[in-house]
């Protein structure tokens, strides 16, 4: 700030703002590794951090509530009812002569409520008296499992196909991309229907694997685009000159640079997967009875909305909570991985930076 003439005050102030902002940005990242910067930026995104907490608690809550089996680990649920128990339908205290209403209470005793607690059937009971809490927990387990299986398969295939196509280009690229176009045209509903009809009800896991085998197309295109531009960069040339193999260049040099885009896209894929599963189950092509899924529960009880709305609200709430938190985590990751990402700089920080610069001069 050499000249501080009257009249030019505004211009000078803007200059100060600019250098101030850069100074803040530079100071923040000084001496940190890439992953530390990403972590730091992610932690700054409050909604995303909050969502991570919510998602983890939902998963722990849901998988510990009733008996579940994840691979070799089996968990004994703490909840007293199972999905196939048939306790008598309760009707005491239910509004308008309905039966099986929820007993969950959020109002403490000193406010005139029944006290905070679960009661006998916190989410109510279904038509034949099964505990709806247990059903919703089982449905949420299914949805989370389906989501991660679809995500895993789609991400693996998508990344490999996109990386190979983008790195090798030429005829390999042409063949792989036409194959991708080919997969895009086959509707996933058909896949669900075929599996259901040919192999019977193999359960949600098999369904998820098949859906995952058809859900990778968008990701592979994205990864290919990323590879096409990254492979022209100097560090790839350097690796090649140093004698690195194609596999090494793809996985050790280019992939880490594309990981931001990939992670963001995978989170979107995950939230899309949970909605896909519920939609298919709703149409009757996904998880089928006697197995339970959130989409199936909503589909079964949508007509009951005006009389017994809880049969509709609770499964919907879990779908939304899971999908919403994943979307927010994705947003946080996008911000964290994007080096051009600017953030809102508070007045206090700006002032401090300006004062700091003045003092230096």
């Amino acid at each position: 700030m050499k000249i501080l003439k009257f009249g030019k005050k505004r211009q000078v102030k803007e200059d100060l703002d600019l250098t101030g902002e850069n100074a803040i940005a530079n100071k923040e990242t000084a001496g940190l590794s890439q992953s530390q910067i990403v972590l730091k930026r992610f932690l700054r995104h409050k909604a995303a951090v909050f969502s991570v907490g919510i998602l983890i608690s939902i998963i722990i809550f849901v998988f510990s509530a009733i008996d579940s089996k994840i691979g070799p680990i089996s968990i004994n649920g703490w909840w007293k009812h199972k999905t196939d128990d048939l306790p008598p339908l309760l009707y005491e205290g239910c509004p308008d002569g309905t039966v099986g209403c929820p007993t969950i209470s959020m109002r403490p005793k000193w406010l005139g409520g029944a006290g905070i607690g679960f009661g006998e059937h916190p989410f109510g009971q279904d038509d034949i008296g099964r505990d709806y809490f247990a059903l919703v927990m089982r449905g949420a387990q299914r949805s989370v499992m389906v989501m991660f299986i679809i995500g895993f398969f789609a991400a693996t295939i998508g990344i490999v196909v996109g990386a190979v196509a983008g790195y090798f280009r030429g005829w390999i690229d042409a063949v792989l991309m036409r194959f991708t176009d080919f997969i895009i045209t086959i509707p996933s509903v058909i896949i669900g229907a075929v599996i259901g009809a040919k192999f019977g009800n193999l359960g949600a896991a098999v369904l998820a694997v098949y859906l995952g085998l058809f859900a990778w197309t968008g990701l592979s295109r994205l990864v290919r685009g990323e590879f096409l531009s990254l492979r022209e960069r100097e560090f790839v040339d350097a690796a090649r000159v140093a004698g690195a193999s194609a596999r090494r260049i793809i996985f050790k040099h280019i992939l880490p640079n594309a990981v931001g885009v990939i992670i963001v896209s995978v989170t979107l894929l995950l939230s899309g997967a949970i909605l896909l599963e519920t939609a298919l189950s709703y149409l009757g092509f996904g998880v089928v009875s006697p197995d339970v899924s959130l989409g199936l529960l909503i589909s079964n009880y949508q007509a009951a909305f005006s009389t017994r709305p809880w049969l509709f609200w609770y499964p919907g709430f879990f779908i939304i909570a899971i999908a919403l938190s994943i979307n927010f985590i994705g947003d946080g990751l996008r911000d964290a991985f994007d080096p051009r990402q600017k953030r809102a700089i508070s007045k206090k920080e700006r002032l401090r930076a300006m004062v700091g610069i003045r003092n230096k001069e």
């Binding site: 509903v189 229907a193 051009r340």
Partner: protein, 514 residues
């Protein structure tokens, strides 16, 4: 370029051939078309099996049967395509021909509304990055992203249809609702329009007072059962439109543009009385479109009369003002049809339906009542589809605009001393639209494919329902017919999007090199 397009088209046919072959065989093993008949005790079952086998050529194994189907479809090239018959011996081509307009009707409005509102919100929130408005919109976008459509549909049926109809039978807005509605409206406008705190509360209180007063006035006037605008209100709104459009497109400092637009408002007032005799029960869509064309011509002539230099933006502004104002006249006509529509026996004072695409019992002769019925049936599915697809446009246009605003040419435009409006509307906004066109093409083509779930929830009979029915009943010809149309359009859309992108953005050239 031609070589590129030809090559892409060739590959496209190969892909369609491959995927239709696979799909045919997958669908064939997914079920048995005569499975139910096999276990039937009906004495006619045996005959039905023979008939169906002969008609659908079930004696031929699926991989070969596919080529029988293909032979019919390839007839498309010499003008006599044969998509075969459905299980019920109906022509697949006719079934699809009936379903496509329904699908378009269902999804077109929703897509259009979602695009317009989505882009508007996306831009507003990009221009106010990291403001409270931005955060709120981000939250709602993610919330909408996470909603299953069938879940939204059930809520809409309950609150927008059943309870709204209850409200119409006794149209008194409860005090709590009045307060909530006014507060939400006021918060929205205050956060869109202002940044500073004092201004925020000023806008908030003005909008709040205005909204609550007008709702109360409308209630007292019995407007909810007997709505109308009338010439005076149309004129006032039209003046408002003139100011708003001029402000956004060329700025209020451009007096010529403002004058031309205001002339169109005066014209609208005269137009209103001139048009009324034409709006009778015999009106047709063609006449209404003709009126739109006439309005455009008048607006063009007026603007040419006003402008001397820089005619393009001024003509655009005037035409937009005139068309929006003329649209109000049509809206007014529909509003005045409302009470007649409500008192129809088929409607019986419960106008918002939860199911179906039109009321079959309604007398068909009056154009306005008939079309109002269609519009009312469109209401819920359109809102549901709009809510679901809105979020994508909001996020996408916000991200793109932020990216564009970082470009060098924006800095150049600002450095030249252009006004902020010109920089945003002419330099930034237009470049934001380029990547948007590509997702737009895909979405518009997706319209034809219909919306399987929405159609099912709201009982519409479009492409989605056909597809669903075809899978459930293992109706291969029907399934392949629907697939052929949607897949061809989808792959074509991909090609068109690529070409459009390279045409709009000179930095990208499709087909040149790799």
């Amino acid at each position: 370029m031609l070589a590129y397009v030809t090559r892409r088209l060739g590959i496209l046919f190969l892909i369609l051939f491959g995927s239709s072959f696979i799909l045919y065989n997958l669908a064939a093993i997914s079920g048995d078309p005569i499975g139910e008949l096999r276990f039937s005790d009906d004495p006619g079952a045996a005959q039905a099996i023979i008939d169906l086998t002969r008609q659908l050529r079930l004696d031929v194994p699926p991989p070969l049967r596919y080529f029988i189907w293909l032979k019919g479809v390839v007839g498309l090239f010499w003008g006599k395509a044969d998509f075969g018959l459905t299980r019920d011996s109906l022509s697949v081509a006719t079934e699809i021909g009936n379903a496509i307009p329904v699908s378009i009707r269902l999804v077109f409005v929703a897509t259009f509304v979602a695009i317009v509102i989505g882009i508007a919100i996306g831009i507003a929130s990009a221009l106010r990055q990291y403001s409270r408005f931005d955060y709120t919109m981000t939250f709602f976008a993610f919330l909408l992203f996470s909603l299953p459509i069938f879940w939204v549909a059930v809520l809409l049926k309950q609150y927008m249809a059943i309870q709204f109809n209850n409200f119409l039978s006794d149209p008194n807005v409860p005090f709590g609702w009045l307060l909530t509605l006014s507060t939400l409206t006021a918060v929205f406008w205050a956060s869109v329009l202002t940044r500073a705190r004092v201004k925020f509360w000023l806008t908030f209180s003005t909008v709040f007072a205005f909204t609550s007063l007008s709702i109360k006035t409308l209630e007292i006037l019995g407007w909810f059962t007997n709505p109308r605008l009338g010439p005076v209100v149309i004129f006032i709104l039209s003046v408002g439109i003139a100011f708003a459009i001029t402000h956004i497109s060329v700025g209020l400092s451009n007096r010529t543009a403002l004058n031309a637009s205001l002339t169109m408002s005066v014209f609208t007032l005269g137009w209103y009385f001139a048009i009324q005799p034409m709006f009778n029960s015999q009106t047709s869509l063609l006449q209404i479109l003709g009126l739109g064309v006439a309005t455009t011509i008048v607006a063009t002539i007026t603007s040419l009369f006003f402008s001397r230099i820089d005619r393009g933006p001024l003509i655009r502004t005037t035409i937009l003002t005139a068309l929006l104002s003329a649209f109000l006249i049509v809206v007014d006509k529909y509003m005045r049809t409302w009470s007649a529509y409500m008192s129809e026996d088929a409607v019986n004072y419960r106008p918002v339906p939860t199911f179906g695409q039109s009321k079959p019992l309604l007398p068909q002769e009056d154009y306005w009542i008939r079309t109002l019925d269609i519009l009312v049936h469109l209401l819920l599915p359109t809102i549901a589809l709009t809510l679901i697809s809105l979020a994508g446009y909001v996020r996408f246009s916000r991200g793109t605009l932020l990216e564009v605003l970082n470009q060098d040419y924006i800095r150049t435009a600002r450095a030249k001393g252009l006004t902020e409006r010109t920089v945003i509307m002419r330099h930034a906004f237009r470049n934001t639209l380029i990547p948007l066109t590509t997702i737009l093409v895909a979405d518009i083509v997706g319209i034809i494919g219909g919306a399987i779930i929405t159609e099912r929830v709201f009982g519409w009979y479009g492409m989605g329902t056909l597809f669903n029915r075809a899978i459930a009943t293992v109706d291969l010809n029907l399934l392949m017919g629907v697939f052929f149309i949607t897949a061809t359009l989808a792959v074509l859309a991909n090609l068109i999007a690529d070409l459009l992108y390279s045409a709009l953005d000179p930095r990208i050239r499709a087909g040149s090199g790799k």
